[in-house]
Symmetry: C2
Subunit: 419 residues, 2 copies
């Protein structure tokens, strides 16, 4: 086993270009040719290609691609009662938060006779990718779509070698409101959702976490006219702690982060040399069983320096364990989700607070937003004028349209005042 090491540096010794953590892109480029091949295969040969890739990558020859109602029944009776109740509890919390998040149509008379507003309309058909046995992600992907009002929500998740799906994933997807579930994983699942096959319908948008193949395939899907939530890279946590932070809690959260694998990053930024030393000591003492991750502790001269670094890094998870967190919160520009105080570990949000855990990583939080109800809706403006309202803006419209060479636009206004 590789010995755990913790890199300790001072922020000011790093070049600013090192602050951002865009490490995933190199990996994407490396897998892109194979992913394009898989997508071309599914494009040409549909289900036949999908079955072949499943046989090759998941080592199973599937009879049926779609999960049958009996399989869901069987899954429900095979999951133990306590796990089932925990899935239900998580589901309730996720529903409450996302329901609060949903936007509702509004309209307002902006000036007499000029009524403007917005409608928020769900997509009709979306796909969610759920990595094998990450049943919590099934809840996180499907529930926001249900709350948005999406009519058809397709889940793809890789089969096990015996051709079944993890029963907890089936139960969670069904409980959340998935309308159809298919046994398909990796780039081939994304290809099927993006292009459609004989069995799997082409969707409007694909969401959900996945490995580097899934992410690369989602990027190619965009070229095919399907939208995606965002590309995902290895998971990461960045913690900002001052002398009030609890080193045992920080070390525990960094070690938890390490469970996401070797490319996962767990970074502490601190103004306190004591905290840095103590966290390092605990990680090294307790890391025994931890899969290797990238542990880094960076010391800073001020919390401002920490905030600046955090905004450049744009972490998926940002923990703020400082004396006056609300003052700092205002300065956050780039992060997936922010966890405040000593009792808000990332794990709480991963499973049960109700907030979504599908978040942009690898610097993508500068550009993208974690999964939410908005991801499943589009917006339409509404404009309703009466004759008096139109009269008020008549001159502005006529003058500007004429100036732009749009005489007929001007006439379409004037026609309404002929009588």
């Amino acid at each position: 086993m590789r010995k755990v090491t913790v890199r300790r540096e001072r922020i000011k010794d790093l070049r600013k270009e090192e602050w951002a953590s865009i490490q995933a892109e190199k990996d994407l480029a490396a897998v892109m040719p194979r992913v394009r091949e898989i997508i071309a295969g599914v494009k040409d040969r549909g289900d036949a290609a999908l079955r072949e890739y499943t046989e090759r990558f998941d080592r199973v020859k599937l009879k049926e691609l779609e999960v049958k109602p009996e399989e869901i029944e069987a899954a429900r009776s095979s999951v133990d009662e306590l796990t089932l109740r925990s899935i239900e509890a998580a589901s309730r919390a996720i529903k409450r938060f996302h329901y609060r998040q949903k936007r509702r149509a509004w309209g307002e008379e902006f000036s007499e006779g000029i009524f403007l507003g917005e409608l928020f309309v769900p997509f009709e058909l979306v796909g969610a990718y759920v990595p094998a046995s990450y049943f919590s992600s099934a809840l996180m992907c499907v529930i926001p779509a249900v709350i948005a009002g999406v009519r058809e929500i397709i889940v793809c998740t890789p089969p096990r070698t015996d051709g079944t799906i993890d029963p907890r994933t089936l139960v969670a997807a069904e409980l959340a409101g998935a309308t159809r579930i298919f046994k398909a994983g990796g780039a081939q699942a994304i290809a099927a959702l993006a292009l459609g096959t004989e069995t799997i319908p082409k969707v409007q948008k694909i969401v959900g976490p996945g490995n580097v193949y899934v992410t690369a395939a989602k990027l190619v899907a965009r070229e095919e006219g399907v939208e995606i939530d965002f590309p995902a890279g290895p998971s990461e946590v960045l913690i900002i702690g001052d002398e009030t932070a609890n080193p045992a809690f920080i070390a525990a959260d960094m070690l938890a982060q390490a469970e996401h694998g070797e490319k996962s990053q767990a970074v502490l930024l601190t103004t306190s040399a004591n905290l840095a030393a103590e966290v390092e000591r605990i990680i090294i003492a307790e890391a025994g069983q931890a899969r290797g991750a990238q542990f880094r502790i960076l010391t800073a001269e001020s919390l401002d320096e920490c905030m600046e670094f955090a905004n450049a890094y744009a972490p998926e998870h940002l923990e703020l364990m400082v004396r006056e967190p609300m003052d700092r919160l205002k300065r956050i520009r780039n992060a997936g989700s922010v966890f405040i105080g000593n009792y808000s570990p990332v794990a709480a949000g991963d499973y049960a607070t109700g907030a979504n855990h599908v978040l942009p990583t690898a610097g993508y939080a500068k550009l993208f937003t974690g999964l939410d109800v908005d991801h499943f809706m589009h917006r339409i403006t509404i404009q309703w004028l009466d004759k008096g309202g139109l009269e008020k803006i008549r001159e502005t419209v006529v003058r500007l349209s004429t100036a732009e060479g749009m005489e007929r636009h001007a006439q379409s206004i004037e026609k309404r005042f002929l009588d």
Copy 2:
């Protein structure tokens, strides 16, 4: 001059596949190789390539790419007072609507000790493409970005052959709040914004309308990691009218639509044979000077049939001139903006109601949303638990994380209850 023709058909005689108007994509594929070449050129040679393409396509050899303060000064004094006042009036209305649209941070205690919320944070650096002399689009692209709080808003707009920019476009861009303005058009401008050159900074997101080259370049920009608002195709209006609709107003709006060029579509759906005949008569009588567009009149057996067609077509502009428009509004799923009643012509929204006129066309309204403040912001969730709050979800988190094989996640919770 080509004689104007109006196609008249019955909706029920069309195949459903004909309902959608995805006509732009073929054009995109045709220009894509040239666009990729231009983008590769700018990637390799930066400003030098940009200048060469400007010389080739805009027929001007530029000394400076960036517009200087003196040029804006000069523009301001050359625009006539009435036009200036109209630009200001439009700008005020656009600001009011978009300000109302802006989302504000919220937080709520979802259960005792579990506080969740959302932050809405502007992008830092965006680019807006403004086609030459469409100064109203400068307002529409820049104002929502300013209201979102974007720090740096770069405008690119093609120069005239004398090396200047239309003074009205300069005035509008500056009034709206653009921070820098560059003389660059077409795919080469999009390439510069997406990749950055010695002079033009690389932006996070590119918005704004443009021709097929600009749209193709925006799609390639996404492959380079820059977000876009949405691809754009030829403009279109779809009008639903019953016997209460005014045929002269409908014909005027269809003729106005035709000003956007030959690929532009103006479609009337109606349950009234009289209305169909009358609109056709007026269009043919008055089209004399109109540039050719695609005029179509489709008769339907019911307004439900019209609504179904409209949702499949997903028009950029949808005019509803029917007896009970609010009943119909609920059934709209796909449109850029909806104009209700006899006194809400598209031209009003193009210039002065305050709603945005940069809207998805060519069926893209199924997937994308017209330009708004949201396009310039991303969202961050916040999670703040106290010990009591964490205690409440403790069992759920521990059970679910353990079930997913994430023991360290469970420990990160349990550590907080050791004392």
